[in-house]
Symmetry: C2
Subunit: 434 residues, 2 copies
């Protein structure tokens, strides 16, 4: 009885490959999960794709790039209202700060100040609507301003809420007249945090949740800054080129309202739009949530860099919404969901519903106000996540990979549907009516 | 001294997010590596991209698909030589089998038979060259035939080598007249393996390395078969569409030899070709190394499914070549590298060089013979991997991510360069000379 692989002679001169029962790595059953290489492939594809776009463009049109955008920005009168709007936000911030100082000082007649605070914070959302409606600025500038106002609104809500809680604790402490030692999680305690510097640090910091003591890094790494800055430059230019070269030609084919086309034609245009739009969205995610927020955090020595969790592995839509924007998620959890559920006794599903409605409101607000056109598409896109999430969860229960694929499909398809609907409505407004 | 987050009241009604110093997940320093989701994104992009291609095509040309390719195949006389060529391979296989049987029987005059074996195996590579040169079949059919001949060549080399080793062990055993118990790694021992059934099982099995006893699975899973078969159908169709829709139009812009274009124009065409070509290559990898080989293995109850390792994470070119085609890698290691280094005392780097030269020869053989055009491009592309590998290894020593990116860049760019050079030469042969 002789077999090949059991003699020393054979072993030494001709090692047979260890042929045993093994699954293929790409089979889900293999349990293999390290696909970091494919992320690098995405980077390479982006790099090669953008180099190609640049060279193609130069060959077609010659070197047209002119660095005149600062000049053009200055010359366009419709840019100026947005600049003023952005500067005006400081009035609301400083008024809220003054109210906080008053609240800290007085001990009895608080309700009036709190009422003013609520009015002031609400005005932050209402004021840009009125202003933009009257002054009709350029939509891009208006969009930037409205984003800024929304962020400041959320930040001031958090600031006010936390300071309110601090006063409550202080009051209860005085009432109980206990003198037990309180361990602080940082050097700053209420009301020492009520300084202009502390407030503006929070307003600049890449978070929506106010804390008296933020985790801080020791120093600013210059190479880190340079890399993030380089990424912002390259990716923004790439997005601009992709938009010009790939998205606009598709949108220009839309010369009638959508229902004048056949269903197949609409599906074709949707699918044609879906991939470049998704690519630009992925780039936007990276350039904003990774490059910009990290740059900001590094400049401010802000320690907590978890601006996003691993949403790309989300196996249902709720997981996606919980992971993809940590700042907003933490804000909603801390200032909306938990107060509603823990303090006011709302049910958990009602709490989730309210969070989604608020989120849908902001999605709509950020689009409708700059376009000066109230349409439900963005609101609906967000609200539809709830029933769709239930459907995806069913898929997920079958197979987690299918759940993840369903999340990607909904991400890729819902945005371009909304874009086409907005473009159609803009078309009606700007071309048909006039 | 009161701080916000240290009272039970605060804790229960408003849990603050755990804000600690945390890195962003996409930072290399975070150590996070689960990007399975991006693999699914690739699938989704492929799905959406191909649906779009199908719908666009239908809108442009109507429903043109005709399932007449079996008919067209039968009618085209240039297809037939390849079919005959493929059938003729059995003569070489059976002759080699007959020689093995003779070698097993006789004990003295072996050298003549071994000489015949070497001649027969060499003829497997030479015969298709002569045949294709004379009969001038369709290049696609010829390519399939030449691939098959190469695979059978490698398999018969392995078969002959292992049987030779078995005889050697048997001889040495008889000579020593030892009767020690030998533990067999399977039920079949030499010479019981010398059956037609055993040989043809090995020839069909998805491996190039002969073993007397292959690991076997218990049963054929029907859903697994259906999935792999579905993948093969869908992905092959997609590759065909991509080739027609994306690659051919680019190649048709090449109406002069390459040096008549400016450098920028050549780079532009190269980059334009690079991405669709790489996409098709990725699909080819999946459909061949995952779907087809798994289908074959499932049908044959073949247990070892590790047809590829995680080449997508390779941080230098040698790692890539070691991982991406396990069958060829195992073959080279077992039948070329180890005999050379361990038995004949070659240095390790000379062994590696010889493996690369043989590999380069086969890359060239598979292209030049079907095209009936001897050009060095494919050979050079493979041989260039050696110096490039050294360069990439330097990059890798700096940063592993950069090494991986360098591997992707070389994968994406080298193939289209070779394709453009071949197309240019075909153009000279078929259009300019005639």
């Amino acid at each position: 009885m002789i077999s090949v692989s059991d003699t020393p002679l054979h072993r030494s001169s001709m090692p047979s490959p260890a042929m045993i029962e093994r699954p293929s790595l790409l089979s889900a059953s293999s349990g293999y999960e390290n696909y970091r290489g494919f992320l690098n492939l995405l980077y390479v594809i982006l790099g090669i794709g953008s180099s190609h776009l640049v060279i193609e463009n130069i060959l077609k049109y010659g070197l047209l790039v002119e660095f005149d955008w600062p000049l053009r920005f200055l010359k366009d009168p419709t840019n100026w209202p947005s600049v003023f709007l952005i500067l005006l936000i400081n009035l609301f911030i400083l008024f809220q700060y003054w109210l906080e100082i008053q609240l800290m000082k007085v001990t009895s007649v608080k309700k009036l100040f709190i009422f003013f605070e609520i009015i002031n914070v609400s005005l932050i959302l209402i004021f840009p609507v009125i202003y933009i409606h009257h002054r009709q600025p350029n939509a891009v500038g208006a969009f930037v301003a409205v984003c800024l106002y929304s962020i400041v609104f959320l930040k001031l809500v958090s600031y006010t809420h936390i300071n309110y809680r601090c006063r409550l604790v202080l009051l209860r402490k005085k009432h109980d007249e206990t003198n037990s030692v309180v361990i602080s999680n940082g050097p700053i305690v209420y009301p020492n945090n009520l300084t202009i510097k502390n407030l503006y640090y929070f307003l600049l910091a890449p978070t929506l949740c106010y804390e008296l003591n933020f985790p801080r890094t020791q120093r600013i790494r210059k190479t880190f800054l340079c890399r993030r800055f380089g990424e912002i430059l390259v990716i923004s230019s790439l997005q601009y080129c992709l938009g010009q070269q790939w998205i606009l030609p598709i949108l220009r084919t839309l010369d009638r309202p959508l229902h004048h086309y056949s269903i197949l034609e609409n599906i074709e245009r949707l699918l044609r739009l879906a991939l470049p739009n998704h690519l630009i969205w992925l780039l936007l995610f990276y350039v904003y949530f990774h490059s910009t927020l990290n740059l900001l955090a590094e400049l401010l020595c802000f320690g907590d860099r978890l601006f996003y969790r691993d949403w790309w592995n989300a196996t249902d839509l709720y997981e996606f919404w919980n992971r993809w924007n940590t700042s907003v998620y933490d804000f909603c959890k801390r200032h909306v969901y938990h107060p509603l559920v823990d303090h006011y006794g709302f049910s958990r599903s009602l709490g989730t519903l309210i969070v989604f409605v608020i989120s849908a409101f902001f999605h709509e607000y950020l689009i409708s106000v700059p376009l000066r056109m109230i349409r439900p598409w963005s609101f609906l896109a967000m609200i539809l996540q709830l029933p769709m999430g239930l459907a995806v969860r069913r898929v997920k229960n079958e197979n987690k990979t299918y759940g993840n694929i369903a999340v990607w499909v909904s991400l890729i398809l819902i945005q371009p549907i909304a874009i086409l609907l907005y473009i159609q409505d803009l078309f009606y407004r700007d071309f048909v009516k006039h």
